[in-house]
Symmetry: C2
Subunit: 466 residues, 2 copies
């Protein structure tokens, strides 16, 4: 048993914090640890702190909690810092999108070729990039041996940026790779007999290996094409077995996984009609005006329920947490209810990789992760070593040991997908580092939605006005 | 004195052939050599052969001439093979452009970001790429020690392609770098005291060094900005001191040279109005519908005059060549007259680098060239070693020795200009090698002019129909 101090930045996101706390409660090797919840929003912080403490108490976990509005306090003395903060919140992103759309940029200027995910902002998001560096530099200064676990988007740009400009040990996490399970379930396979790899960059990962019972089983995925073409999504994010995914698979020769399905060229995204055609009715995927509204509404619902739960618990200190969730079942989105119930299941971890990662490096409980790290040692051939890649790795007390990719990602993906995506990452980082709106303007001069220099100049001026 | 055999492929271009022959006549160290003119167009070949022989005779040069319609004969026994052929001629390119424009692609589908030059076709030009490889493979087979001197466009894609897929020794030549003279003349400098370098890829080269009297003189170029902004071009190609050139200079931090000024993003090329704004009235640069028409008309005039000159000479065997040119002065385009007169000036070489290059490697008459070669040994940092770059080099009997670039090209040019240009070269080569129109379709899905998949599919189908 080895206790640590973990700082969670942006902990006001109560659901995310609860997932981490629940994972900690189920990881006895980390009991005795202290969790410092930090957020700049006091009321959200109080809510998350209350729920986290209450939850740990109810399940009888030996964990200590602190809360703070001060970033330094979340970092000083910490062994691990988890950053999940979104500077300015969704409202900032929506404001940026609104300005962009008013100037003729459908879905906003941050929506770019191979970067269509609606809250993965790389051009207008200077506050977020600044915060990434501020955190990493404070770790350098106050807790130089500590790990930074990056959950906040954009993970690709963020992981690259932090590694290039600070010495902080860091790893980026995403859960996009879980979408491989869609194939495993749909094909009725025993997941313990499936051996798979994904590789690429965050939100641009590809299934390079899919073995079943020790044999290549990629052909099994081909049998799902018919189903994909007649795809009826259950929700906007249900796109792994969609026309878009299989169309990309046909061109690239490997299957795009998770958010990668959303991150295409404009081909699937020209307008709502195209989005519906490729991602299914009625939403046209998560990034359409309809799909994204659905997601925002769901976030609002979850937030409301969380506040409600906290209130009930405050008024009824002896009521079991799990009972309240059970009683709120009818008012909760179905998948949120499943998630909320999972946190009480002693055998199920949340799926977030952070706590198992801490357990692996701290206690040597070796495990496989999908991590975002620099391409040092050329894990993926053809990508520069100072670019962050997302790859499978074994993690233990010795650190992160990337798996050998077998087979390597193919040339088609490297030249036609990763090259343009990496180029845009470089442009975004360059524009941020130079604090130069003219570089964003230049990006827009290469944007299919730009009809004139004046149009691009106007949107850049409005976005970057003092 | 060291005689060689030189094969010229596409020699029916009489003006180009005459320039080479004139250079040979002025290079006594190569007298005794044999020149094999090859073309698939018999009447053009006969014309060029007649003029070349007649010219050499008039100036008393000891050279032998052969003519052939057979590619093999131009290669077998040759020490140097110069390829200047354009498969299908300008009419093929114009047909491709016409199809593209009919489907909504202004200036045709080959016109692409950072590749706006109107006869530098990389997507529909499979015949040209096939011929590049056919020639290089025949040299491998018949004359394995011979040099291939590539003059035919696209030099960037061609040099990369030939080096990747054959073992033939080759070098690509262009004359874009001569545009540096515009600055030297405009600033009234003594060219012998100017020390400059350019580097990049063909049609994407940048002035990394501009010294005068041993000191950095880049600031002198800045004084021409006012003039550039009030640019009144003398002809469509007169664009080195233009708003476009200085706008690019401001963003990239180094001056684009020669055809590079034309090869921008769409910013300067959206439509005729934009082109006029950036390249000057009335043509809007060489690549507008007006500027390109001007160029085509000039090509036609020059061709007519050449035929006429050949006829007069045939009927008057004793009339001096130079006299006829003089008498045709009024009917010739002014700059063509200057060029035609130059070939009679015993002290002036044509400016084409081919014959001086042959003299350098054959006779050790060491000289500086701007060459297109693979980036082996990483001449330009940040570019893969299997990509062709255009750089200054010293050439002697030992071969091509690239100069050290001082300073190196800056990061801005690498990430914002060369990266996207190189990416497009990779796509074009990939589409050609795979003989897959779907890859061209995919390129069009990333094209700002594409409004729908159906539009792109229709143009690709018409272009690649059997």
């Amino acid at each position: 048993m080895s206790s640590v101090k973990i700082g969670i930045i942006g902990a006001g996101s109560a659901v995310f914090s609860l997932k981490l706390v629940s994972d900690l409660c189920k990881t006895k090797a980390l009991w005795g640890s202290t969790v410092t919840l930090m957020d700049i929003d006091q009321s959200r912080l109080e809510g998350a702190f209350f729920l986290a403490k209450r939850f740990a108490k109810e399940v009888g976990a030996d964990l200590n909690f602190e809360k703070t509005l001060d970033l330094d306090k979340a970092i000083i003395g910490s062994d691990f810092v988890i950053n999940t903060a979104m500077v300015g919140g969704h409202s900032f992103l929506e404001k940026m999108r609104e300005i962009g759309e008013r100037h003729g940029y459908y879905r906003g200027i941050d929506t770019q070729e191979f970067n269509m995910v609606s809250d993965y902002y790389t051009l207008t998001n200077n506050g977020q990039f600044n915060y990434f560096l501020e955190i990493a530099k404070k770790i350098e200064k106050f807790s130089p041996g500590a790990w930074l676990l990056q959950a906040a988007n954009p993970v690709f740009e963020g992981t690259t940026l932090i590694n290039r400009y600070t010495k902080t040990k860091m790893v980026g996490f995403c859960h996009g790779h879980y979408a491989v399970d869609n194939f495993i379930k749909e094909l009725g396979l025993d997941s313990s007999k499936v051996d798979w790899q994904v590789a690429g960059v965050n939100h641009g990962i590809w299934l390079n290996k899919f073995f079943y019972n020790g044999k290549d089983a990629y052909h099994m995925i081909n049998t799902l094409k018919e189903k994909a073409l007649n795809h009826k999504p259950l929700h906007p994010f249900d796109d792994q077995i969609s026309p878009a995914a299989f169309d990309a698979y046909e061109f690239y020769g490997m299957m795009p996984i998770g958010d990668t399905v959303r991150n295409s060229s404009w081909k699937y995204h020209y307008d709502l009609d195209h989005k519906k055609q490729w991602y299914g009715e009625p939403w046209g995927g998560a990034d359409s005006e309809i799909g994204w509204k659905w997601y925002q509404n769901k976030l609002a619902e979850v937030s409301a329920v969380t506040i409600e739960v906290a209130k009930i618990l405050e008024q009824n200190p002896d009521l079991p947490f799990s009972k309240i969730i059970e009683s709120a079942k009818d008012r909760l989105p179905a998948d949120f209810f499943v998630e909320a119930s999972n946190i009480f299941d002693p055998k199920k971890l949340s799926g977030e990789q952070h706590i198992p990662f801490i357990d692996a490096v701290k206690n040597g409980n070796s495990r496989r992760f999908i991590v975002n790290i620099l391409n040092k040692g050329t894990i993926i051939k053809g990508i520069s070593e100072d670019v962050a890649v997302e790859v499978p790795a074994l993690v233990d007390a010795g650190g992160i040991k990337p798996e050998k990719l077998e087979p390597m990602l193919n040339d088609r993906i490297l030249k036609w997908y990763l090259a343009p995506r990496i180029m845009r990452m470089e442009w975004a980082i360059d524009a941020f580092i130079n604090k130069d709106p003219n570089m964003v303007l230049e990006i827009l001069m290469r944007d299919r939605r730009t009809k004139s220099y004046e149009q691009a100049k106007a949107v850049v001026q409005e976005i970057f006005k003092k």
